[in-house]
Amino acid sequence: MTAARTNEAGLRADERLERLKLFGLSSPAILLILVVLVLPVGWLFYVSFVGADGQFSLENYERMIASKSYARIFMTTFKVSFLTTALCVLIGYPLAYFMSQMPERIANLCMITVLLPFWTSLLVRTYAWLVLLQKRGLVNDWAISLGLWDEPIKIVHNLNGTLIGMVHIMLPFLILPVYGSMKAIDRDFMKAASNLGATPRHAFWSVFFPLTTPGLFAGALMVFILCLGFFVTPAVLGGGKVIMVSMKIVSNIELFVNWGAASALGVVLLVLTFLILWIASRFLKLESITAGGH
């Protein structure tokens, strides 16, 4: 009896010690997150409630309700992010599928062409698109000389140009996780499906596609969230008419005498993003994304 109890106590002590060790091992990471993430976000939250006179105030939030432009800027931000994500899925998924079905050598070549622009500066790629798409840019010049259209058409300095630039920059973020989840699928599954009488199309939609959804959702989510904070590309390719939250944050820092006016925008964007993630998690299994390929 006593021996059993000692044993039990000893086991519990061991367990506690192990937990403590694990905590000790992860504490640098926890500390890092605390210092570089939690504290600044907390500070941001606090500052957003400080008015121009240095006192507690709701003026930074009241301003967002009073002026219609803030609601429109948030709408633009989510619209651009959503459209970019949708286009990335439409273009990226078939490409990833193509790559996953090709022999290794061709797939690797495709992978390099996907990754190459990924290693080029975002600013350079954005200005390159401006050069290509502007009124007297290469695209218009060639199209006119080929007789596709007679007058230069407006492709940039608007929403279209912004989307072209952003989709190009975001595409690798979608292709990589989708390709990963496709490569992880056992090819015998498809053979089994056709063996059981499924047409190729049926096999694709009922076997292959569902197995790739975790990768697809992970990629789409990553693209969407990265888009929310975009600054350079919409600023350069949007012609000053596609105004996203990050651009308004910068102009508020210049315009108002306190940081709160800018912080409040950051807080609202953060809260709205969490809200969207929460709603998404109601419909999709978010855990399956963090769990990886399967």
Binding site: R63, S67, K68, S69, R72, I73, T76, Q134, K135, R136, K154, H157, A235, G239, G240, K241, I243, K248, S251, I253, E254, L255, F256, V257
Partner: protein
């Protein structure tokens, strides 16, 4: 005796060395061809003349100064700034008051120096046009800029409120001298913004930097734009088909200020006194087509008649323009910027 003299000399030299070592300033400006011009015309010659050692930096504007002053770690002694943001920074308590017993502004244009900021150069916000599209007879007034029947073509306009409302009111028939009176109310601001709203379908780009509006004209992306005159001259030098007019343009200036708590405040004041003298200011137009703020610079003989005729602050050109009102910006800019943004996001 000999020893005593040596001692005196040594002490004097040590004192001199200490003074010389004290005499240094750190200046921040906007970089690029603008700061290069300032450096060649003002900073380097003044450094050689006074022995004040100059360290140059670039910075991001008054928000940098705000950060330095608020954290108590001021490293900049002199900053170059737009007149409007300097006025607001001064009102906010971020700048030292300038001592006009030290800095001689007796021959300055009136309104080109304030309690906190002394003018360094004069520039204009003008309308510029593509000479391929309109030839030499481009728009000659803001009403022409708005007249899309007489001058069909795409426009670019400023994406910020500064310098955006005054032209709209002039296009709407307000006399230049009445522009700030009309703008001195929310209705007046709304009237100007409504006028821009009317032109908006023809505005392809709302520009956000001087480099951008120069590039737009170089590429022929738009046929007409607003912008800063010096940039268009530089673009024309690079072969851009661009011309501009000073008629009804907005006369504005850049200035120098001293951040609150600057480490070398007194030296900075003396240095500002030096570079405000006509013999420095008359060299600036050699490097960029921005005019002197000190009228006496036109009388030294350094600025020839042809150069003077092209400068924003030459008497003939200045007479055609509307001087920008800092008081209006101090009072209304924040409110007007919010209203302007609303129009932009529609």
């Amino acid at each position: 005796m000999k020893l005593k003299m040596m001692l005196t000399v040594t002490v004097a030299m040590a004192a001199f060395a200490a003074v010389a070592q004290d005499k240094q300033v750190t200046i921040a400006s906007w970089g690029g061809s603008y700061q290069e011009s300032q450096s060649k015309a003002l900073f380097e010659p003044a450094e050689a003349k006074t022995g004040i050692k100059v360290t140059q930096e670039t910075y991001g504007g008054m928000s940098d100064v705000r950060l330095q002053v608020q954290t108590g770690k001021v490293t900049l002694d002199i900053v170059a700034s737009g007149s409007g943001s300097a006025a607001r920074a001064g009102a906010e308590g971020l700048l030292e008051e300038l001592d006009y017993n030290v800095i001689d502004v007796s021959t300055f244009y009136p309104h080109l120096y304030t309690k906190y900021c002394v003018g360094g150069d004069v520039f204009s916000t003008v309308y510029a046009w593509n000479t391929n599209t309109y030839g030499d007879n481009g728009p000659q007034s803001w009403a022409d800029f708005w007249d899309t029947d007489k001058f069909p073509g795409k426009r670019a306009y400023r994406g910020k409120v500064a310098g955006a409302l005054e032209p709209a009111l002039m296009a709407d028939g307000v006399a230049p001298e009445d522009v700030y009176k009309v703008l001195d109310s929310e209705e007046g601001i709304k009237r100007a913004i409504d006028k821009i709203r009317q032109l908006k379908p023809h505005i392809d780009v709302f520009w956000t930097s001087g480099a951008q509006h120069a590039q737009l004209m170089k590429d022929g992306e738009v046929d007409m734009t607003t912008g800063w005159n010096g940039r268009f001259d530089n673009a024309a030098k690079d072969g851009a088909k661009v011309k501009y007019s000073f008629n009804q343009a907005l006369l504005d200036y850049d200035c120098f200020a001293i951040p609150k708590g600057a480490p070398n405040k007194d030296t900075a004041m003396a240095f500002l006194a030096e570079i405000s003298k006509p013999e420095y200011q008359d060299d600036l137009p050699k490097y960029i087509t921005y005019g002197p703020t000190n009228k006496a610079a036109y009388e030294t003989g350094e600025i020839d008649a042809a150069t003077a005729a092209g400068l924003p602050s030459s008497p003939a050109n200045a007479a055609m323009q509307l001087p920008v009102s800092l008081d209006w910006y101090a009072k209304w800019e924040t409110k007007a910027a919010e209203m302007y943004q609303e129009m932009l996001t529609e």
